[in-house]
């Protein structure tokens, strides 16, 4: 059973529908204790970092997530803000502490070409590490849908398994042990996105 964390932020339905469409058993976890009953965890999220981490703290998900993701090492997928919140700290609208699973800061996109917009909204070609099983079955240069103003700047380059070019390499995916996360939205990236979710369903870290 895949559990989607519902801490009151963002569009859970699309992520739910995508797993359901792929035939996976999926449920929404509204309460921290629900996480104990699932085998895989998905942390979605749209919005601002501060609201996200505040809600994770207020709802009691902080402890439950650390228990299930870190202690019990359940395969976990973070999407967009759900990836960013796994970093150490964010500079979005101040300075805030995240879950700290990745040694990384969340900083604003700063393309050197002024024609490039922030937020970056749209399809970008991803370069990925072919040894990562979560990318199995993708063509060489797949496009994925991104919508973000901030990104994860990892201090350990080993964690970064996919990037895209925005006048410099922007982190598109990170992977560490049982935790995989994407800045792009697989649930909004048509076939290639569904492929990644399918790989996640079968993933044995």
């Amino acid at each position: 059973m895949i559990g989607i964390v519902d801490y009151g932020m963002g569009n859970l339905l699309s992520v739910y529908n995508a797993f359901d469409y792929l035939g996976a058993a999926v449920t929404i976890c509204k309460h921290p204790e629900d996480l104990a009953g699932v085998d895989r965890i998905v942390i979605p999220g749209v919005g601002a970092f501060k609201d996200c981490i505040d809600k994770i703290n207020q709802t009691g998900f902080f402890e439950a997530l650390n228990d299930e993701v870190i202690k019990n090492a359940k395969p976990t997928l973070g999407i967009c803000l759900g990836m960013q919140v796994m970093g150490k700290r964010s500079f979005e609208g101040g300075e805030f502490i995240g879950l700290g699973w990745f040694d990384a800061d969340i900083v604003r996109l700063a393309p050197s070409d002024p024609i490039l917009r922030v937020p970056n909204i749209g399809w970008n070609t991803i370069k990925y590490n072919k040894d990562v099983p979560l990318f199995k079955g993708l063509p060489d240069e797949p496009d994925f849908y991104l919508v973000h103003s901030y990104y994860m700047k990892a201090n350990d380059p080993k964690d970064v398994v996919a990037v895209y070019d925005y006048t410099y390499d922007v982190t598109a995916s990170v992977l560490k042990n049982n935790i995989f996360a994407t800045q792009f939205h697989p649930e909004k990236s048509q076939e290639f996105g569904l492929k990644i979710l399918e790989n996640f369903i079968d993933w044995k870290p």
């Binding site: 569009n11 699309s14 529908n17 995508a18 917009r117 399809w123 849908y145 103003s149 649930e187 909004k188």
Partner: protein, 261 residues
């Protein structure tokens, strides 16, 4: 680099034959509405053709029922896995929540943003700027001057499109959706003058719409209008258009767009 986007714009209204159903329509200069089919089936066709995003707008002047709109989006999101923008009659932050929780990714506001500009800031802070699309309908008046119009193009405002676009950006809009009412459905090309001036003066993405009838019109929107995306209603709705072929033509014009596979 983000690729340039091609976006079918699905306009909806209450079906003339069934008050409980919403149908897909095409328009000409915001009038001459023609019912052309079921929005959900059409959305599936667009997905099969690898459209980059979809925009759904309820253009019904009398029925602005948010629940009915969110019902359609809910259904669409069961099978459509691409970004979805929804608009038409959205007035409050709660309306945003209702649509976002039913599968919308971005919300487009038009009349309500002009009447109450704080709505932009309020929703941008709450749901993120990327979620707030300010839709701007405009045209030239009898004196040949550009003005923004609201209420489905019926009511003239005191804004020039560029001024309103820049104000909306300042207030927190994440994207701008532009449409010249006089060009709508005419299939003679986009209003490149206004699109260009807004694209060059704002730093958020601009979606140009209104008037595409040929692949060249899309290419012009990107190259001459400097838009980030081009949306079209009647162009994509007409079955005689081969989406794949159009896409190749746009690509051949030198535009960096997503090719299917």
């Amino acid at each position: 680099m983000s690729k340039k986007r091609l976006i079918p714009k699905l306009q909806l209204r209450t079906a003339s034959y069934n008050p409980n159903k919403m149908v897909l329509v095409v328009t000409k200069q915001f009038n001459e509405v023609i019912e052309i089919g079921d929005p959900v089936s059409q959305a599936k066709i667009f997905q099969a053709q690898a459209a980059d995003e979809l925009i759904f707008i309820n253009i019904d002047r009398h029925n602005k029922d948010i629940k009915k709109l969110s019902g359609i989006i809910n259904k669409v999101s069961e099978e459509i896995f691409m970004p979805i923008t929804v608009g038409g009659g959205i007035k409050t932050s709660d309306d945003f929540r209702e649509l976002l929780s039913n599968g919308a990714d971005k919300i487009s506001i038009n009349t309500s943003a002009v009447i109450r500009p704080e709505l932009i800031t309020e929703t941008s802070e709450k749901y993120g700027a990327q979620c707030v699309v300010v839709s701007i309908d405009f045209k030239k008046d009898e004196q040949g001057e550009y003005w923004v119009y609201i209420n489905g193009g019926q009511e003239k405002t005191s804004y020039h499109p560029l001024d309103w676009a820049l104000k909306a950006e300042k207030l927190g809009a994440g994207e701008l959706l532009l449409c010249n009412i006089s060009f709508d459905g005419m299939r003679e090309g986009l209003d490149l003058e206004i699109i260009k001036s807004i694209s060059e003066n704002s730093s958020i993405p601009v979606i140009a719409s209104g008037g595409c009838g040929l692949a060249q019109h899309f290419a012009d929107g990107f190259l001459k209008g400097r838009a980030d995306a081009v949306a079209a209603g009647s162009f994509f709705a007409h079955r005689d258009q081969n989406f794949m072929q159009t896409r190749s033509q746009i690509k051949n014009a030198g535009i960096n767009i997503r090719m299917h596979h």
